[in-house]
Amino acid sequence: METFIFLIFAALAVASSLVVVMHRSPVYATMSLVVTLFSVAVLFVLLGAPFLGALQILIYAGAIVVLFLFVIMLLNLQKASAEADRRRGQLWVALPGALIFVGMVGLVFLRAWRAGAPPLQPLTADLVSLKGLAAALFSDYLLPFEIVGLLLLVAVIGATVAARRAPDAVAGSGPLPREDFVGAGDEPRKEARS
């Protein structure tokens, strides 16, 4: 039964992540990403880490990808622009990423095969439980945790600075004009969408 569920969701994860990188429409790619994240969350649950699975859906599928979709719809990306971006420079970004991934996986196998090295320990159910994770995060890994928090703060400040208009443009502060929020729909979408 568990193997059956694993096979379904592993296949789904692989297939949907292929759609994410191959599909031309940004909206379809984003929705496939949701399917990928959901399938990986199910794999987490099968591995005995329901907390990670729930967090994966809550944070990634439920919030971050919604923001992706929000931005895509707000920018009203057409197919053409997505196609133009595909050609330029994508390979040069993808290549180092793939190399890092292969290196990390290779390192794990290398350590497992080298004689004399301490054998790899599987994560215990205790460690991936809510209390185990919290204890590890706030004791052994406190410094990395705080640094990640700082990184997020920097990103928030950067986004605020980037979103701020020139001072003279916001001279008449007060309630923002409605156009700021509804402007995306003012331009009609091109009807030609197959």
Partner: protein, 338 residues
């Protein structure tokens, strides 16, 4: 294993039976209550007091033509109503509806899915509800629908934060994600809304926004966006959105009464066995019913917020209040008052 499966299926059938009937009943309640508030009779022709009006509406939904706009994105357009029903009929599996039942030497917890990550699972599944609104808005290829979809995504993300933080505060003194533990805690102490009145207030306001109900129904705002994300939907596809909206309201109400008003329990009542199970289920339904009445009452009483007011309320009032509530509850828990 198979006995457990049968028990789970039976429990799901009970909860499904409760939650699927919410939409037709609320259809009648909403229209009659709205009419009463506006001092007019409302639908009173079909059956006694117009009680068979939902049946007539259902027949109409089934017989109407389902029109698909020519320029719509067919796949996503058909997927959106289905996605709307998915979280609506899965979130209630973690809500307990009675004390443990012993049948033939087995103890059966009266909750469909007694998982450790209970509340988190609810929040995770309900956070997926936004996709149906966004996709419906996008796939319809209609600018009013698109606006509704964009509004929905921004609104739901903003209010989910405050909602989650107010739920988190309830978990602090209980030290568990299980809703049955939270009910047990409230049976031993007082109902949570007394010590956590601030958190309850934040939860209440955020749940109106999360379910797209007036005064926060900006994604559909009929006076400015026609019907927003579901403008282009008709017949059973529209009915799916309608069903999902009311089922989501009921599921969120079930979470709310379980977190703040003792769930299926009543103070001073400690029944066990089948009687306890039935009383528990009826109590839970009654409490959900009171919440639904409040939803209706608020809808026909308050005017709609403007979009910038909605965003300001979410980020500048509710979020700080929910953080303040979290700090207060944490301090009270540390001091041993809770």
């Amino acid at each position: 294993m198979s006995e457990e499966l049968v028990a789970t299926l039976l429990k799901y059938a009970v909860m499904f039976g409760v939650f699927i009937n919410v939409a037709p009943i609320m259809n009648w309640v909403e229209r009659r209550a709205c009419a009463y508030i506006q001092d007019r009779p409302g639908p009173n022709r079909v059956g006694p007091l117009g009680l068979f009006q939902p049946l007539a509406d259902a027949a109409k939904f089934m017989l109407k033509e389902a029109v698909t706009p020519a320029a719509a994105d067919k796949l996503l357009y058909l997927l959106a109503p289905v996605l709307a029903l998915l979280p609506a009929f899965t979130t209630f599996v973690i809500v307990p509806f009675g004390p443990d039942l012993t049948v033939g030497g087995r103890t059966i917890p009266l909750v469909v899915a007694p998982v450790d990550t209970g509340v988190l699972l609810f929040l995770a599944l309900s956070s997926l509800a936004v996709y149906s609104l966004v996709l419906a808005g996008y796939a319809s290829n209609n600018k009013f629908s698109l606006l509704g979809g964009i509004r929905a995504s921004a609104q739901l993300i903003s209010y989910e934060l405050a909602l989650t933080l107010s739920v988190l505060a309830v978990l602090l003194p209980v030290n568990s994600f299980r809703l049955s533990d939270i009910v047990a805690y409230q049976q031993a102490h007082v109902w949570n809304f007394i010590p956590q009145i601030l958190g309850f207030f934040v939860f209440l306001v955020a749940s109106f926004a999360e379910t797209n109900r007036l005064p926060f129904d900006l994604p559909e705002a009929e006076s400015e966006l026609i019907a927003g994300f579901h403008t282009e939907y008709s017949a059973m596809r529209f009915a799916a959105f309608f069903q999902a909206e009311y089922t989501n309201m009921a599921a969120l109400a079930a979470l709310g009464v379980t977190l703040f008003f003792g769930g299926w329990s009543l103070p001073g009542v400690h029944l066990t066995g089948w009687l306890g199970a039935i009383v528990g289920l009826v109590t839970l339904i009654a409490k959900i019913g009171i919440c639904m009445a409040v939803f209706v009452w608020v809808r026909w009483t308050f005017p709609r917020f403007r979009y910038d007011q909605l965003m300001r309320l979410g980020w500048k009032v509710l979020l700080p209040l929910s953080i303040l509530n979290l700090i207060l509850v944490a301090a009270m828990t540390l001091a041993g008052w809770l």
